[in-house]
């Protein structure tokens, strides 16, 4: 089975890192995995996204065609990506920031106010990791413990100091979904 997830947000929201964590975990759990950061124009700013493909066999195409999951941190991401989602797919939305809603009827909506959650706990910067926690808490694409257990490696030496906060954020997200669902 090949499962594709696209995560998207405004540059600086850290969503690329969330995607990367999931990719590392998938690798550690023995899956085939590809991670592809979006390939914008050469200019800066605006929306950045990444595609994580997880599969039990070699992955043909790492591109974001018909993703099964969308994780959207802002309005522009929603506008751009909603049409691409596979029919029957799930769309995770950061309701703290995303005011619009998908117009498609054939996809499932998961609403999580991650920025609010972050603001009221460990700080807005970690909204992306709360989203990650919430996302895997619901989809079980990878185990949270795999991410948490390998956070050292994922972060590398330079960013080691963010380890605890990241883990905390994931847990907040996990908790949120376990409550909600």
């Amino acid at each position: 089975m090949l499962i594709k997830t696209v995560m998207s947000g405004i540059g600086g929201q850290g969503i690329l890192f969330s995607g990367l964590c999931m990719a590392w975990a998938a690798m550690y759990e023995g899956h085939f995995v590809t991670y592809l950061p979006s390939y914008g124009a050469e200019m800066r700013g605006g929306v950045t996204s990444c595609t994580i493909a997880i599969s039990d066999e070699e992955i043909a195409s790492p591109i974001p065609s018909a993703p099964d999951y969308l994780v959207l941190m802002d309005n522009l991401s929603l506008a751009r990506l909603q049409s691409q989602c596979a029919s029957g797919g799930e769309v995770f939305i950061n309701t703290s920031i995303v005011s619009d809603r998908p117009i498609r009827g054939d996809i499932e909506l998961v609403e999580i106010p991650v920025t609010d959650l972050a603001e009221s706990s460990i700080g807005v910067r970690y909204a992306n990791m709360i989203m990650l926690g919430a996302f895997i808490g619901r989809t079980h694409l990878v185990k949270a413990s795999t991410i948490i257990g390998n956070m050292d490696k994922i972060l590398g030496k330079e960013k080691a100091r963010f380890k605890d906060k990241n883990i905390e954020a994931i847990n907040i997200g996990l908790e949120y979904t376990s409550k909600e669902t």
């Binding site: 124009a41 050469e42 200019m43 800066r44 700013g45």
Partner: protein, 248 residues
């Protein structure tokens, strides 16, 4: 009330794609205002660079022709020699003009090509993600000078404008900065002068503009403008370096 400031006519009604606080859009506006004021929008041809301003042709409502990275002055030479009655300008970043385009720039200047170069110095390669430019300052960190530029390894910032000012071909050479509203207005005056010098057929003209790249400097826009004044203007002193109209 009277409208005292609005968009120049030769800019199209299209929002800029530049990062917040980027100097490119200001310089676009200045050039556009000059074109409007000189009433040359129907005989001007612009050569945007490969660089963040590569899409400049989307904004200006004038004839524009892309050039390969660094070759703006050579393309402009081709235009001017083929159509001596047209007003030709290039718009180039520091990488474009002072690295890969060094030879084309210097030789066009030396030949005294009757073209105008608007040279946007933001001390980094913006478009490609903030690599070291020839104008990157000592100790400035970029993605390809992660430990800061070291004079012993990468050499000192190259002041190509100063080199150009020593040549005989150029008629007008100046360096300006966007650091304050007053300096922005001075920049515009200088760009106008540069175009006028071309219209009079006096020779090559160039205006270097110190311009912020908040994104790659990793500063807020406001801080980036402060950095312009506190750091860049120290390394790249502003002023008119050559003006043949003054000598007569």
């Amino acid at each position: 009330m009277k409208k005292v400031f609005t968009k120049p006519k030769c800019l199209k009604d299209i929002p800029f794609h530049y990062c917040p606080g980027c100097g490119h859009s200001i310089i676009h506006r200045l050039v556009a205002e000059v074109i409007d004021e000189l009433k040359i929008s129907d005989c001007v041809i612009g050569i945007p660079p490969a660089g963040c301003a590569v899409l400049a042709y989307n904004y200006f409502d004038i004839d524009m022709c892309e050039a390969p990275h660094g070759r703006g002055c050579a393309v402009a030479t081709g235009f001017k020699r083929a159509q001596p009655d047209k007003i030709i300008f290039t718009y180039q970043g520091d990488g474009d003009m002072a690295a890969i385009g060094t030879a084309e720039t210097l030789h066009a200047a030396n030949r005294g090509e009757r073209i105008t170069a608007v040279f946007v110095n933001n001390a980094v390669y913006g478009m490609t993600g903030g690599q070291m430019a020839p104008t990157t300052m000592i100790e400035q960190k970029t993605t390809t000078s992660p430990f800061g530029r070291r004079s012993e390894v990468e050499g000192y910032p190259l002041l190509i404008t100063d080199l150009i000012a020593t040549l005989k071909g150029p008629a007008y050479v100046a360096r300006h900065s966007l650091a304050t509203p007053a300096k922005i207005l001075a920049t515009k005056k200088s760009i106008k002068k540069a175009f006028e010098v071309q219209i009079k057929g006096l020779g090559f003209s160039l205006v270097e503009v110190l311009s912020p790249c908040p994104t790659n400097w990793k500063l807020s826009a406001v801080d980036a403008y402060k950095f312009l004044e506190s750091k860049m203007e120290k390394e790249f002193p502003i002023g008119v370096l050559k003006d043949v109209t003054k000598r007569k």
